[in-house]
Symmetry: C2
DNA sequence: ATCTTCATGTAAATTGTTACATGATTTT
DNA sequence: AAAATCATGTAACAATTTACATGAAGAT
């Protein structure tokens, strides 16, 4: 149930419509927490009912409408409370390592394909996250720039440092997965 | 939906009751795919309906009963098909890295607590997995021994090697998380 | 005109979590 | 006799995924 906190994290920086939020989301927090728009719209409505956000109804042209969501004080508090509370860790659920433990039951070709795909998938993630790191350093990430604009001078360094720290962790994870799968490919060659 | 394949992987080695399966599960695949008994019993029933397993009804004492589940040919094929098919990767959903990206919004104390807990949680996982590696090497893991007993001589080395490979990956992951969180603690000290 | 982007959702199905519920058998 | 373990589930809820559905506004 971190979705609402991910949404609050973005909205706290400034009001957005569901649509814009969803785009910002996929460009920032979405790297760490995926959610499709069909989940975001209903969640915003629920958060509105619970008083965490307020919708400012706007019209667009003749009949177009949009709802601009603002974080309320209660929403702000909810976010800060969540940040200060212990994180609840979910149990591991890792289909790739599950399969890896049983690779002897399939053909070497299927095993190689699985590992090659693992490398492809994690390389894509790695590229994303390294790109994000570069954008953080170049201050060219729009979300980060928006955040820095509403951040007091003395807090800017920390803000950047933590964001960097988060992405570094993701980059290392991806590198680890890729190295592991490479070793797996060697292993397949060795034992088959 | 890897749960059923995790269950099949265990049952393929030999028939078990839901209760024993659940215990084996938590001692082996459970490290990679957690599932509570309240999920395992219904899943077994569903798999029975779909013809992947067959239940042998047994009595225990006067009125006690148990259902011993055997994998059917269809179940065996389903498992092998799954092993040979491309794995579907879920999108990232990582509350720890999500929170890490926003650590500047909380107090240094809360940030430290979060990171310390991250280290604790992953150290526990690490200990589990290193223990598992040691048990693989010592051939003292009961599940592995059962599996080797039904494995042809020439396939034993591969079986062990892949199991080792899977756990090595998990160990490295845990080490990475711990190192990352340690660096995070240094960072908190530096910026606050 | 038509294509893209803006804009907001509903519905159904699946998956997973938490709590509850029950009772037999074996061991101390 | 009590405690531990064996044994099997149901119920309610929460979270997630996938697919569907609709239409306005702005750009080419």
């Amino acid at each position: 149930m971190s979705l609402r906190y991910a949404l609050l994290a973005i909205l706290r920086v400034g009001a957005l419509s569901g649509y814009d939020l969803q785009k910002q989301f996929s460009l920032s927090v979405g790297h760490v927490w995926h959610a499709p728009d069909s989940q975001i719209y209903p969640e915003l409505r629920k958060m509105e009912q619970e008083g965490l956000v307020e919708a400012e109804e706007q019209t667009r042209g003749e009949r177009g409408r949009r709802r601009l969501y603002h974080v309320t004080d209660a929403g702000d508090r909810a976010f800060l409370d969540w940040m200060a509370a212990p994180l609840d860790y979910q149990r591991v659920r890792d289909p790739a390592h599950l399969r890896a433990a049983y690779l002897e039951t399939t053909t070497p070709e299927a095993a190689r394909e699985f590992l090659a795909r693992h490398i492809t998938v994690w390389s894509a993630e790695l590229a994303q996250w390294e790109g994000e790191l570069a954008r953080i350093d170049a201050l060219s990430n729009p979300m980060l720039v928006r955040r820095l604009a509403v951040t007091a001078e003395e807090d800017r360094e920390r803000t950047i440092a933590y964001k960097r720290f988060a992405y570094e962790g993701l980059v290392e994870r991806a590198r680890g997965e890729i190295e592991w799968a490479r070793r797996g490919l060697d292993l397949v060659d060795r034992v088959s």
